[in-house]
Assembly symmetry: C2
Homo-oligomer: 122 residues x 2
């Protein structure tokens, strides 16, 4: 079942939405259920993530992990943010059901893609 | 992609939550993603559905169809509500992506189970 931290992040997700003038954006798909997840970042002159948002039609596990990773990444340097693993996020949430691993991996993958996209655009 | 009706029902879902003293309750699982959906009903003395709520960690398609079916079922007789098909809900939403059929079927199945549960409890 779901931890209290997961339920909180699902029922009251942080940093949802779209950044229209994003500096980087990454989209990944969930091969199991067909859902997609996009993460948008704004990067300041020190290469810190000054704003980050996510957008998905994905399930509760996808929403909770995205809400959590956006909070973990906000304000830190992009190279540090790039190192946040799926496990870091799951740990911060107090664990996730095994059946939801595909969903919970979307957020970390999308963030890495968004950072790669920012670097390529430079 | 998703119709405006789907997006509305996902971003502003109606009738979410739990009815603690429900007269009937039905839970179904999505075999593809492992998500579950529960629908709760309160039935009045004329066997009309006076209150209905849903609860899920499922995806946007699951949330949108549940939000829609609970609006369709509220206030009508349980036998009429039992006849609401997956197709009725999908039509009311202006269609759903094929990849999300498993998710969108949860709501109609859970409502039927809740009505069966109410009848059995009588
Ligand atoms: S992906 Fe799980 S309910 Fe839709």
């Amino acid at each position: 079942d779901y931890t209290q931290k997961v339920i909180e992040n699902y029922t009251n997700p942080q940093n949802t939405g779209v950044i229209e003038d994003a500096d980087g954006e990454g989209t990944v798909g969930n091969p199991v259920c067909g859902d997609i997840m996009t993460i948008y970042i704004k990067v300041d002159e020190n290469e810190n993530i000054e704003d980050i948002k996510f957008s998905t039609f994905g399930c509760g596990a996808a929403i909770a992990t995205s809400s959590m990773i956006t909070q973990m990444a906000k304000g830190i340097n992009i190279d540090e943010a790039y190192e946040i693993t799926r496990n870091d996020v799951a740990e911060e949430l107090g664990g996730l059901p095994a059946v939801k691993l595909h969903c919970s991996n979307l957020a970390a993958d999308a963030l890495q893609k968004a950072i790669e996209n920012y670097k390529k655009e430079r």
